[in-house]
């Protein structure tokens, strides 16, 4: 995902702000990492460039 997606992404549970933690990125985008909602204490993974914003019960 491109970094500027942070401008529009919110926690899907409380709609609050998210904290971005990057594990791997290239010159264009973030490949892996997490998006963290401190209010819900929930991590949303970024894997293979795709942020997974589904609440845990919908993920798999």
């Amino acid at each position: 995902m491109k970094k500027d997606l942070m401008d529009i992404l919110a926690c899907p549970i409380c709609k609050g702000d998210l904290v971005l933690n990057i594990s791997k990125e290239d010159e264009k985008e973030i490949i892996s990492g997490t998006l963290y909602c401190s209010k819900c204490n929930e991590y949303f993974p970024i894997e293979d460039g795709i942020p997974n914003m589904l609440p845990p019960e919908l993920r798999e």
């Binding site: 529009i8 460039g49 795709i50 589904l54 919908l58």
Partner: protein, 200 residues
Amino acid sequence: MVTITYRNANINLDEQVYDPAEDSYLLADVAIDNAKEGMKVLEVGAGTGFVSAVLQENVDVDLIATEISPIAATCARASGVEVIRTDMFTCFKHGTMFDLILFNPPYLPTSEDEKVPGWLNYAFDGGPDGRDAVNRFIDEVPEYLNNNGMVLILISSLTGIEQVKERMKACGFKVETCDSDNCFFEELIVVKGTFRESEL
């Protein structure tokens, strides 16, 4: 991975993801006709990313897509589409606005015993009358549209075209039919809805 090419876009397919069919081609063509350079575009439930990939290959738009299935999201990304795994609009901040929102919903009337296993069900299952997903979309989409923003929704005669149009009008849209295609067991149309806050 199987790849198809349409209007200069290359799209990756997967057997567990809905293959682009008449509905996909119709929506992609209408999207190209209606999109303008520089528009902020969202495709909801992009599947393989076919419509998004074809649109961004042909018109210089700023596009993102959402998709619930991990397999479909991987296809869409491999087709060059910026994709987020989410359930319709739930990942977006309040105040996130687009100029054009595209939706090819799961529109088949589906009973409990007609559901298919796995993520693929999301591509077809429109609930008992076929309108579960499209109704939810119509109710939620105005919050994410600029004034004079536009939606393009693919609807089948199996889904109830007039019922969908009436719901759009009730939610503040000026509604017109863009294009249609007669397949052997259904009529497919793209409905264009232009959102005007003043009509609410």
